[in-house]
């Protein structure tokens, strides 16, 4: 176990180092990007620019510049945005993290529950009318673009029907966990929107896995044992089908926490990591981009490690391998 953790940690460091170098190089290789010009403000004279360059270390060679930035970001934790002077990167990320986590964890709970129920039901009802119907619902969910769906949801709940059915829906935005009721209410529609995008894929995948499992020899053995169809479906077929689903879930979850829920966050005005990254990209704000990218990489690697541990919990065959 210890060895596993050490190995994972080392590979995480390596991945994050590689990504940070890549981001750094891409940034400075992009034409028209001069951080000094941004920091100094519009129409700054060359002397000011040179001074800014010097004070930010921008006149040093690239490797030194990289190391300086990393030192400020990770060790001194005082790296500042190039665009909004005085706002530090780390606190921004710390502030945005709970928003994104709230959004993604809630949505994940909904989509996993819905996906498992839909997928298992479709597999159990295969060959009957309900099966293709459930799968159709899944496809619809998958094919809706997040921003469009989000906008439509907003349109309905905030404008069209806000005066009648959806009068209880609060305006877009985020309320912290210290008001749990408001927190949940504010996140309800973002959760549903994000979950709808994933539930369909998961239902579809799970259905395939369960249908395959139902044709396995061990299911025939389970039937010969005299178990009920319900028990065979849930304890045997579904249990074994969850193994591949979990690895996919880990990847999706890691990516979403890392900022891939960007569109949902933007549409619903949630100040999460996705939104932060989005704004930083628009302003070409290297320190913030660097911070969020490293944060995202960290979560993806972490999610992968968690998946591996969970995988071993679910599949005894993977434990000793």
């Amino acid at each position: 176990m210890l060895q596993f953790i050490v190995k994972r940690f080392a590979s995480a460091l390596l991945v994050m180092f590689a990504i940070s170098v890549l981001v750094f190089l891409i940034f400075f290789a992009t034409p028209g990007v001069d951080p000094a010009a941004r920091i100094a403000g519009r129409n700054a004279d060359p002397a000011t620019l040179a001074q800014v360059r010097h004070s930010f270390g921008l006149d040093r060679p690239m490797p030194i510049r990289y190391l300086l930035m990393m030192r400020h970001l990770l060790i001194d934790r005082d790296l500042e945005s190039f665009v909004n002077r005085g706002s530090r990167v780390i606190p921004q990320i710390v502030q945005a993290t709970p928003v994104t986590l709230s959004l993604v964890i809630g949505a994940a709970l909904i989509w996993m529950t819905a996906g498992i129920i839909m997928g298992t039901a479709a597999a159990a009802l295969r060959g009957r009318a309900a099966d293709p119907l459930i799968m159709l619902v899944g496809v619809v969910g998958v094919s809706l673009p997040a921003y469009w769906l989000g906008e439509v949801v907003n349109l309905i709940t905030q404008k069209q029907l806000h005066s009648s059915v959806f009068s209880w829906v609060p305006p877009p935005g985020y309320v912290g966990l210290d008001h749990p009721g408001q927190w949940a209410l504010h996140l309800l529609f973002p959760w549903l929107t994000l979950a709808l995008l994933y539930a369909g894929i998961y239902a579809r995948l799970l259905r395939g896995e369960v249908v395959g499992a139902l044709n396995e020899d061990y299911v025939r053995t389970a039937r010969a044992k005299g178990l009920s169809e319900r028990r065979i479906l849930i304890r045997h077929a579904l249990r074994c089908s969850l193994i591949p689903i979990v690895s996919l879930f880990g990847l999706d979850f890691g990516a979403l926490v890392g900022g891939a829920a960007l569109l949902t966050e933007v549409v619903f005005g949630l100040p999460g990591i996705g939104k932060l990254t989005f704004d930083a990209l628009q302003n070409l704000d290297l320190p913030v981009i660097m911070g969020t990218v490293l944060y995202a990489a960290f979560f993806v690697v972490l999610a992968n490690a968690l998946v591996d541990i969970l995988y071993a919990r679910l599949d005894p065959r993977a434990r000793h391998a």
Binding site: G127, E216, D217, Y218, R220, T221, A222, R223, A224, K225, G226, L227, S228, R231, R235, H236, R239, C240, I243, L314, D315, P316, R317
Partner: protein, 348 residues
């Protein structure tokens, strides 16, 4: 009634609906199993031996299958039983063991858990008690250190040990009948010998056994009675000695003669059965074996029924004259040894 069979199958018919129409896999099969006996069912692929046994336990779940006929077990017709009652029969009164021990157990649960699951499905016992019984069963089938092995997962068992575990599970509720479908085919000979011993042992403890196999040697070692199947029908049936010492159906001759043996004279060429096993769907109107039979004649266009020979329990479905089958067998064998085989002609 002491003579009443434990399992009595009458005119069993299994057909699959396919794109090309209905295909009959088991075609009017009748047989019975007496309490405590070992019935060996032998035949090549496509003979319907496995499908018929799956049909008996109603384990053919595909919606494209039709099963007709009568399966009387202890007087009840299993085919007419409500699902819930059928579940109570499966695993408790009739248990089944399948060919491949590597895939027969659910990979994510311990072996002991899976045995306990079956016990708890049929009897009101505590989790702890069921587990203790599972350990006892594992030890009974010869798994050393059963108490700790019960907590191991299937992949931590070797093939032979897994088959033992599967048999232990099958025996967990003391079934009156055990159906074993090629239980030793995936195993090495030395392990096969151990498993066959185990089946003999449990048979002496009172369970009747239906052993499905393609291996005439295995049948010859263990069965009390033999049922030879071809093309979804019974070709020959009778006590083991009668069938092996005086086989009556040309297909049985072929099965016995074409196996290279570990003893006896070595032949340069083996007597073969011409052509290929009949495919379900290509069953002829008359005798299913006629197209491959070297002694076929006009009468074979009509379907032969199982008939007993001189009032004995030895029955066969063949139109050849009853009395000089031994001589006919020699003729057929001579013909089978040196003609080129007909596989080429048998395929269009």
């Amino acid at each position: 009634m002491p003579d009443q069979p434990l399992l009595d199958v009458r005119d069993l018919r299994v057909s699959f609906r396919t794109r090309r129409g209905s295909v009959t896999v088991v075609d009017g099969l009748s047989f019975s199993v007496a309490p405590g006996e070992i019935l060996g069912v032998v035949g090549e692929s496509g003979s319907g031996k496995s499908v018929s046994m799956l049909a008996v336990l109603r384990l053919l779940t595909s919606p494209n299958v039709t099963v007709e006929g009568e399966v009387r077990f202890r007087g009840r017709d299993l085919l007419a039983l409500p699902d819930k009652d059928m579940r109570a029969v499966r695993g408790r009164e009739i248990a089944m063991v399948f060919q491949d021990p590597m895939t027969a157990l659910t990979p994510v649960y311990t072996v002991g858990w899976q045995i306990a699951e079956q016990i708890r499905a049929h009897e009101k016992v505590s989790r702890k008690e069921a587990h203790a019984r599972a350990v006892g069963l594992l030890s009974d089938v010869g798994i050393p250190d059963a108490a700790s092995r019960a907590n191991a997962y299937p992949h931590e068992f070797s093939g032979g040990m897994r088959q033992r575990a599967v048999i232990a599970m099958a025996l967990s509720c003391g079934p009156a009948l055990l159906i074993a479908d090629e239980p030793t085919t995936a195993l090495d000979v030395t392990v096969q010998a151990q498993i066959l011993d185990l089946m003999r042992e449990l048979n002496t403890e009172g369970s009747a056994v239906v052993l499905i196999t393609h291996d005439m040697g295995v049948i010859s070692q263990i069965a009390d009675r033999v049922l030879v199947m071809y093309g979804g029908r019974a070709a020959e049936e009778g006590p083991r000695r009668a069938v092996f010492h005086g086989p009556r159906h040309p297909y049985t001759w072929g099965l016995l003669d074409s196996v290279p043996r570990v003893g006896g004279p070595r032949l340069r060429r083996l007597p073969t059965i011409a052509g290929m096993p009949v495919a379900p769907g290509d069953l002829p109107e008359g005798c299913a074996f006629a197209p491959r039979c070297r002694l076929r004649h006009e009468q074979c266009a009509e379907r032969p029924q199982l008939r007993d020979f001189a009032g004995s329990a030895h029955r066969d479905a063949c139109w050849l004259p009853d009395d000089d089958r031994a001589a006919l067998r020699l003729t057929a064998r001579a013909a089978a040894t040196d003609v080129p085989d007909l596989e080429r002609e048998a395929t269009p």
